[in-house]
């Protein structure tokens, strides 16, 4: 598993690149609680990498470590060949990492368009003063450019009809899509999705799966996702990390993981004798 340099070719013929992020012996403790225990794995460029596991397995904590929100108690995170230290959120964004949240975190009173525009923030050059100057400082022109990028994303995710609708009025499934749109607006290299399908019906799940695949295909974005729905995970992802009680119990292609006895035990339960 540790041939870091070359990458591999997926079943459907996509070329996956080299390692862009590596987690080395990560342990995360909150006081006496061990959320993550000595986990190592890597993320390769252009792949869809899933983290699965039963409730409380430490998946979301792991995602927070990847995003830099949590600093591991022990272990190292290597990103693009550099060891990563503590970071502020804007620094994370500048590294090209964007995420969505398990419990939607959008601005309810703002329109879909404005919400997605906030995703462009890290790419905006004009400061407060320049924006106050508006037209003659070039801020208007800059906004046009950002709007153009945002419109492409709106088109991509097929949400033209709700462009001007306040987010608070949207149904759950669409909010999730808007959140994805906002994350995409930051033009991330690495996109973290925390349970993108939670609470969706079959049709919404199908739509979301298609969008995730399309994002990966169209923009070449590396995607790390946490998901409960095993069917979705197995269909979408190239490689899967399985966690249980904070430990890694499996890592590999969906097929490998499916046939891993530890994984089967964790999911189906095991007889205690």
């Amino acid at each position: 598993m540790n041939d870091m340099s070359d990458g591999y070719v997926t079943a459907d013929g996509r070329q996956i690149g080299g390692v862009i992020m590596e987690m080395k012996n990560i342990t995360l403790r909150f006081g006496g609680v061990v959320a993550i225990k000595d986990i190592s794995f890597d993320i390769r460029e252009g792949e869809i990498r899933a983290i699965i596991g039963p409730n409380g397995a430490g998946k979301s904590s792991m995602l927070n470590v990847i995003s830099g929100f949590y600093i591991p108690t022990e272990g190292e995170v290597w990103f693009h060949g550099y060891k990563r230290g503590p970071m502020r959120p804007y620094q994370v964004a500048r590294l090209g990492i964007a995420r969505t949240f398990q419990n939607i975190a959008l601005f309810d009173g703002m329109s879909v368009l404005d919400n997605i525009m906030t995703g462009r923030l890290t790419h905006m050059k004009s400061g407060l003063l320049a924006q106050a100057g508006w037209w003659w400082t070039g801020a208007a022109k800059e906004e046009d450019e950002h709007r153009e990028k945002v419109e492409k994303i709106i088109d991509f995710l097929e949400i033209q009809n709700i462009r001007k609708t306040p987010v608070g009025r949207l149904p759950y499934g669409l909010k999730k899509r808007v959140e994805l749109a906002r994350a995409l607006a930051a033009e991330p290299k690495l996109l973290l999705l925390d349970e993108p399908m939670a609470g969706m019906n079959v049709e919404e799940k199908e739509d979301m799966s298609r969008f995730i695949l399309d994002v990966n295909d169209e923009f070449g974005t590396t995607i790390v996702l946490i998901e409960h729905d095993m069917g979705v995970v197995m269909d979408l992802s190239d490689r899967v990390v399985v966690m249980d009680y904070g430990k890694k119990i499996g890592d590999g292609t969906p097929d490998e993981v499916r046939n891993n006895q530890d994984v089967i035990d964790a999911y189906l339960g095991v007889a205690h004798d």
């Binding site: 419109e151 991509f156 295909d217």
Partner: protein
């Protein structure tokens, strides 16, 4: 030849020739607009002609031959309209198909016409073609407009449409002379388009329409309503439907007006408001939905707004239609109407996107008199027309100043109409179709040697006005057990005029009394439920709610009372009814793609329910198979209640005459 056409010295004999004429006449005027990335993109006639030509050259490079069929499956986009004209330029025949058709339905049509080339809107359509490709060996090349998600497909026989254009531009010197030769070969009698009829019965039939059919019809109808190059239409109806072909290609090419394509089907209402078309066509359903949403929003409006609305709508109802028809109206009323226009009608029309409408048409189904007069009272010149695919749309239409809800108007210019002995309507016109493709038998049974075509509809001319009135489908008009006349559509239309009833299917042929299935309108009934504190979790639960049944019963009884007025049809009163647990759906084959009910399919599928309507039971348990959008099947189980409705005693002929 082309120069003479452009200068207006010779009549254009084909759509490509009209295009050349428009470039010469209106070169700098907008021909097409499409909203994309939040902005209206536009193409002038000159630019559009260049795009179309590049596409035609690209088609030649792919090997499109004379007489080939090119299937087009996608939503209304300039690219798709261009591909139809480009196909014509190559001597090929465009065949637009319904994009929401399932792969199976598509397979039949593709096989029937032997389409060698397919233009798909997006990945979804390409997937359907890939699915049926093994069975249909004729397909040589697939093109698509939207590149999204297409990267992983095998591109040995597949291309993006814009790449085909690029190929055409690159190889123009190789194909230019061949293309010009083919354009010059087109005559008035070459096939312009082939359209498949929705087919309420049996398999779809391919209606072949010539350049003569389309251009003559477009010319006559454009002149009838004085359409010109400053007009604007919104192209949002299915491209496979003859109406869209006539409006967005025939009349647009003839009159040179602008075709605007919405951003997506869901944004149609917003786009309508932004464009404000001057010429508009919609089936009654669209007008109904708009009115329902206006009424729902007015229910929630503040007291002052509601008062203003009610006050001035009353004025509009009283004098609006007369003012529109140019009849005499007192000065005081006129002033009220002016004020109303300032406070209510103007803003309302603006919200609906009807501020600039000069001519609006509705057709396809009967429109409710209240709905019809609502729009007319606002000063919107909404009219009715009657037509069908085989006639290149127009058979009859209403002239300005002679507009009524219950007729479909007088014969269109150039059209002859007669009523057969059995009451069936026949017509003959320059727009009459050439033939059903590969179906001489049906052609012969529909079109007689003298060119008269049977419409399949029963109707009559009103003696004093000369307007045509349509009663029902001729074959649906039947007899009840005791010999009284049975006209289901007549009753269904009356029922459907209630906002809470979406669809109704009436049974009774050969029986002693009539019964009905009702489909509730989820938007209207849902809103009503909200206001009346009725909670429900699903469509099924709402449909089965006792108070919904009570409301529908009232509607049915009102309809019964109104039917009883007409001695000829009084036997059609509905004695018992039930509210269906699912919406009738084209995906389940219960309706056509143009949303007409398929009686025989429904009769077979719900045989158990019909039986229960007649054997006196109060409720029945049933399981129904449903098809999801992606073609998977599932089933819905439900116990349906059956309700009785009071019938009014029929008036005798003598009483009615008094």
């Amino acid at each position: 030849m082309a120069d003479a056409v452009a200068k207006g010295q010779a009549p254009a004999q084909s759509i490509p020739a009209l295009l050349a004429r428009n470039v010469a006449r209106y070169g700098g005027y907008p021909a097409y607009r499409e909203k994309e990335f939040g902005i209206w993109q536009s193409w002038t006639w000159a630019q559009a002609a260049e795009e179309i030509r590049a596409m035609a050259l690209g088609f030649l490079s792919l090997g499109v031959e004379r007489g080939d069929h090119v299937a087009i499956i996608g939503r209304n986009r300039p690219m798709h309209y261009w591909s139809m004209v480009a196909a014509q330029m190559c001597g090929a025949i465009p065949v637009p198909l319904y994009q929401d058709a399932a792969a199976e339905e598509m397979a039949y049509v593709m096989e029937h016409c032997g389409a060698r080339f397919v233009v798909c809107g997006d990945q979804e359509q390409v997937d359907k073609i890939v699915e049926i490709e093994d069975r249909i060996h004729a397909i040589k090349h697939v093109m698509y407009t939207d590149k999204r998600g297409m990267r992983k497909y095998d591109h040995s026989r597949m291309n993006a449409l814009e790449d085909v254009q690029a190929e055409g531009r690159a190889g123009h010197s190789r194909y230019e002379s061949e293309l010009d030769k083919r354009i010059a070969e087109l005559t008035y009698d070459s096939t312009c388009v082939m359209l498949y009829t929705s087919g309420t019965t049996g398999k779809p039939k391919g209606v072949v329409l010539s350049n003569r059919n389309i251009i003559e019809t477009a010319k006559a109808s454009s002149e009838f309503d004085h359409l010109n190059h400053n007009d604007e239409v919104l192209a949002y109806l299915p491209m496979a439907w003859v109406g869209d072909f006539i409006f967005s290609i025939g009349q647009a090419m003839w009159a040179g007006f602008t075709v605007n394509c919405p951003e997506s089907p869901e944004t149609m209402m917003t786009d309508l408001r932004e464009i404000g078309p001057t010429y508009f066509f919609a089936p009654p359903r669209v007008f109904e939905n708009q009115l329902t949403s206006v009424m729902i929003r007015m229910e929630d409006a503040g007291r002052l707004k509601k008062w203003l609305f009610d006050r001035y709508m009353a004025v509009a109802r009283e004098v609006g239609p007369d003012i529109l028809d140019g009849k005499a109206v007192s000065f005081g009323k006129r002033m009220s109407y002016v004020l109303g226009n300032l406070f209510v009608y103007g803003p309302l029309k603006n919200t609906l996107g009807f501020s600039r409408i000069r001519v609006g048409y509705t057709a396809g189904e009967a429109i409710g008199p209240e709905i019809f007069s609502f729009y007319r009272s606002l000063g919107i010149n909404l009219k009715q027309l009657y037509g069908q695919t085989e006639a290149s749309v127009f058979i009859t239409q209403q002239p300005d100043g002679e507009v009524r809800a219950d007729t479909v108007g007088v014969p269109s210019p150039g059209v002859e109409v007669k009523i057969g002995e059995n009451g069936e309507v026949y017509y003959r016109s320059p727009g009459t179709f050439v033939e059903y493709y590969k179906n001489a038998e049906s052609t012969a049974s529909t079109k007689d040697p003298e060119g008269w075509v049977a419409t399949g509809d029963a109707g009559f001319f009103e003696e004093d006005t000369g307007h045509l009135r349509i009663i029902d489908r001729a074959k649906d008009v039947g007899k009840m057990a005791d010999g009284r006349l049975f006209a289901p559509k007549y009753v269904e239309n009356k029922l459907k005029f209630y906002p809470s009833i979406l669809e109704a299917v009436v049974f009774g042929a050969g029986k002693d009394r009539c019964t009905a299935f009702i489909n509730i309108d989820l938007t209207a009934v849902g809103n009503w439920a909200e206001r009346n504190n009725i909670s429900y979790a699903s469509y099924q639960e709402l449909a089965g709610h006792p108070r919904v049944y009570e409301m529908i019963r009232e509607h049915v009884e009102e309809v019964n009372a109104s039917i009883a007025e007409d001695p000829m049809l009084s036997g059609c009163q509905v004695h018992r009814f039930l509210i269906l647990h699912k919406e009738l759906d084209a995906d389940d084959g219960e309706m056509t793609r143009t949303r007409k009910v398929r009686r025989n399919v429904i009769g077979e599928k719900f045989a158990d329910l019909i039986e229960a309507l007649y054997d006196g039971r109060d409720e029945i348990y049933t399981e129904t198979e449903v098809t999801y959008e992606d073609g998977r099947k599932g089933s819905i189980k439900a116990t349906l209640k059956i309700a009785d409705a009071k019938v009014a005693s029929a008036k005798t002929m003598a009483e009615a005459a008094e």
